[in-house]
Symmetry: C2
Subunit: 226 residues, 2 copies
């Protein structure tokens, strides 16, 4: 039933979605929907919580603390964009619908977002500590970097899910180039190159119609080890 | 009257804000508010449009096409964060309230955001063309980079406006380090250093209680020219 609800809320929007439609898609009667979940509000809240949990679990599973910092970031980003590409309705519920229909729903996703920012902050701090024993990135600055990274990822996920032919791997590569290499390096023609697909867990591609894993600009370059 | 409305909507939220309160703050009678603007919805829409216009004008005025790409980005970011720090209620209306209270308001800000992303895309393309005559950044990848940059800036502005003591200059420096240098350089201890304050137009600081313009980590470094 939640599958049907996420699909309906994600595709039609919270306002336009009707309980009739959700019941029909779920193959159950409308009274049964109300029996399990009191109201449209409760059903929507249940959708937000389920999708938030699935997303944070996917990102946490993708972060691999055994890898060097750039590969950790790459695997976390790939997990994030793979999840949002495979669950576009869930992402629309979380990032668009939940923030557009009142403060109660917005507060639900704000809490999850705070958790994700804290998680990313710890990853960046750990990587900075590893890179130089006397870290000169102060905690507050790292918190700002984590906010920037999360905001960039959210924005790119919206864009990827509404732009035909952008794969999860392409989105991850774009953000990796942006966040790890920086525009300064990109302007000078220096790119970050994703590791071979054979190194990756199977199926990290978004499965879009044009499933090429890397962009032309990145193909055939060697990875600049820093 | 719009000043009073933006302040009330920004600080109390769209739902909690009352027309009585806005009229009182504006020093006019409630019938007069309704005479000028039909309804709370119309008043809120007028606030969104005014704040969107002010923000885009501030960013466009900050972008200085005569400067090298990194200084252009720096001046644009400084203009953006200075504007959002000085107009926290306007920013809350645009980025929080307008997206939280229904699809009509959300569509208003989505349109402005699309414009800003297009503007940033053109800036990045121009900088890339300047940097190397045969640009290997494809238009689609640049569109992705622009989405990432805008998302990062939005996220940082929310954070700066809710974190005591973060100045506009600090936010701009954090995003400059993130977006221009990249985490890879930061991990290796390489930072982007803002130009001397004396080079800047007056008053680019957010005016927070701890108005130090640069973070400790950046003070006294020379700018890595790339």
């Amino acid at each position: 039933m939640l599958d049907a609800a996420v699909r309906t809320f994600g595709q039609r929007g919270y306002m336009a979605a009707s309980m009739d439609e959700i019941a029909e898609l779920a193959g159950v009667s409308k009274p049964l929907v109300y029996l399990y979940l009191n109201s449209k509000e409760d059903l929507f809240t249940a959708c937000i919580r389920r999708e938030a949990k699935a997303l944070t679990e996917a990102v946490r599973a993708g972060a691999r603390p055994d890898l060097p910092a750039d590969r950790q970031l790459w695997s976390g980003l790939t997990a994030f964009f793979t999840h949002t590409a495979r669950n576009p309705d869930g992402w629309a519920v979380l990032h668009l619908q939940a923030r557009t229909h009142g403060e109660v729903f917005a507060a639900e996703v704000a809490e999850v977002r705070t958790e994700i920012v804290a998680f990313v902050t710890q990853l960046i701090l750990a990587a900075a500590r590893e890179a130089h024993r006397d870290p000169d990135l102060r905690e507050r600055e790292v918190a700002g970097l984590a906010e920037a990274l999360v905001g960039a990822a959210e924005s790119l996920a919206d864009w990827a899910n509404t732009t035909p032919g952008v794969t999860a791997r392409q989105s991850a590569a774009t953000l990796m180039n942006f966040a790890w290499m920086g525009l300064g390096d990109l302007m000078a023609g220096r790119h970050w190159t994703p590791p071979d697909e054979s190194d990756e867990p199977a199926g990290t591609d978004g499965g879009g119609p044009h499933g090429a894993g890397v962009t032309a600009a990145q193909a055939g370059r060697t990875s600049p080890v820093r």
